[in-house]
Symmetry: C2
Subunit: 335 residues, 2 copies
């Protein structure tokens, strides 16, 4: 079985260029969402504890099976540990054999960013140039690269309640050719922004964006509201916007729309990608991608990685299973 750890993942991204990787990955995401009905979709399994949650997110397209393990432990920050660790496995459905075991902490950041930008390509108004980014933590640089790769956006207005986090972002990207400015408030950041990305970490019903901050024509890429009790947008914004989700059943529980009545109208993204439904109708529409992250996205990046790294040195071989001379003689491995 192939194994791609953090070192090989980093090397793969650096060698190929992060924007190339995100652009190629977005093609896999688009392809997979366009064949949405082929996927086996189940709600994720979640094991909750006082300190956080551990989740298993499986899916299959009938040819390959993939799942991701991911935790979310906000308090890890205080112990100098990552709040999110993830890994994933891709298997062949025909034999049940696992073929790729991969780190997914970086991969999840990549697929989330690629998905955000892909959705914005469909939903943001023509000629969008400026993006406000509220919350400049782990996901922010990936989002910035994705929006430049897919939409050409290079003007970024940053705000974080902890200014040092915005400064970290500027430092990480200062040689990458972005035009970045650090703002003193989210109100300042969203001014004249064509796109607003919210990506904050607090596990609570926050109001990162209030209704008066969102003007006509804006596309909102709402990343941070992604589990029960964790939202970023005021409900009034949702009321006057067109809201798009990955998978309605899951998003009603985990997304911004957990604030809305059950019959609040949303559109699933695959319907937009496949042309079945309309995205933005008017230049003045407010569109919202209520992103929570879905197993199909993890499947897409596992599939992408598996295709890309095959026959390269971006993986190691793990002896996860033996080769039996006789398939009925497992004990033979011990003799």
């Amino acid at each position: 079985m192939k194994y791609t750890g953090v070192n090989n993942m980093v090397r793969f991204i650096k060698d190929h260029g992060i924007e190339t990787v995100i652009t190629e990955l977005a093609q896999y995401l688009e392809h997979d969402f366009k064949r949405w009905e082929e996927f086996d979709k189940t709600p994720r399994y979640a094991s909750h504890s006082k300190g956080g949650v551990i989740e298993l997110m499986p899916t299959s397209d009938g040819q390959q099976f993939g799942f991701k393990y991911v935790n979310g432990h906000p308090g890890n920050y205080k112990k100098d540990l990552q709040t999110v660790i993830a890994f994933g496995v891709l298997s062949e459905v025909e034999t049940g054999y696992p073929i790729l075991f991969s780190e997914m902490t970086i991969a999840t950041a990549l697929r989330t960013a690629a998905m955000s930008a892909l959705v914005a390509k469909y939903l943001a108004k023509e000629g969008s140039k400026t993006m406000a980014m509220i919350g400049n933590g782990c996901q922010a640089e990936f989002q910035a690269h994705a929006f430049r790769a897919l939409l050409g956006i290079d003007e970024l207005r940053l705000y974080d309640i902890d200014k040092s986090v915005s400064e970290k972002m500027v430092k990480n990207l200062e040689t990458h050719g972005f035009n970045m400015s650090i703002c003193n408030s989210s109100q300042e950041a969203v001014k004249r922004a064509d796109i607003i990305t919210t990506c904050t970490a607090d596990k609570k019903n926050a109001t990162i964006l209030s209704d008066n901050m969102v003007g006509a024509g804006v596309h909102i890429n709402a990343i941070g509201g992604d589990c029960p009790g964790k939202t970023e947008l005021h409900a009034d914004i949702l009321s006057r916007a067109k809201v798009f989700v990955e998978y309605e059943e899951q998003s009603r529980i985990e997304g911004e729309i957990q604030q809305m009545p059950e019959d609040f109208e949303v559109t699933e993204l695959w319907q937009i990608f496949s042309g079945e439904k309309q995205g933005r109708a008017l230049e003045s529409d407010i569109t919202v991608f209520d992103s929570v992250g879905f197993a199909v996205e993890d499947f897409s990046i596992l599939r992408y990685l598996n295709d890309k790294i095959d026959s390269t040195d971006y993986y190691e071989e793990l002896d996860l299973f033996g080769t039996l001379d006789d398939s009925r003689n497992l004990f033979g491995l011990l003799t």
Copy 2:
């Protein structure tokens, strides 16, 4: 994260001795089943396809979280592939960090055998000496070692519809000090046996044991009937036996008792281990362990392995996650 592949697993078992490993493992199983109520028990997730099934089996005791990936593809046999491949992960609940990634193909055979023998220690009649083994495939040698390690049984009467499979078993164990005889029928095998282990592979409602083959006082270790549509015992045997299961909710769907009415009485094993309920009452009772395999058993072996291999060379370190100088700077790994 620690990684134990097939090579290290084999080395660990050989160095320690398989019966020592099984004996120690049985202590972990017994300990965990005795604290049954501490475990988060969910039905396994199963992705079915034409060729087989891929399952994820998670559980947690509040301190650690474990899950197993396991497939079952009967047709793999024809492609010279294993019908079952498994791996498992153990994590710390407090941080969500995975700590052990292990092969579980061999480990599952070990834990299944250790569980069988542990249960027989509670349920088989005093002075049991002889075991009939019907179905001598991958699981058989592990069962033999487990029953000798825990019950001192070394007289084995073997039967398999494919005689070459019984011969494989004899060859594997010929220097291990067992007294084995290959029988020409299951009827012959079960004669004078104190314990009957059924462990056949066909995915159908088979009658490996019919009612007239099972005399008073016998303990039946029914391993093979473990998914919907796959059973080994005639219902009449169950009717006159005391039946013991791991987890009633799952066993009603997957076990031998799928043949019985919903109110058919069974006893969960943790109640026997903890002394809450009686196992065998009379020397003449027929007892049945309707084994299907439950996530807690995988948890026990992951916990056992993690304890045993710590600070040894029975594992490799995998770079599944990086070390961030600043936990909010994931992108820092790329710079």
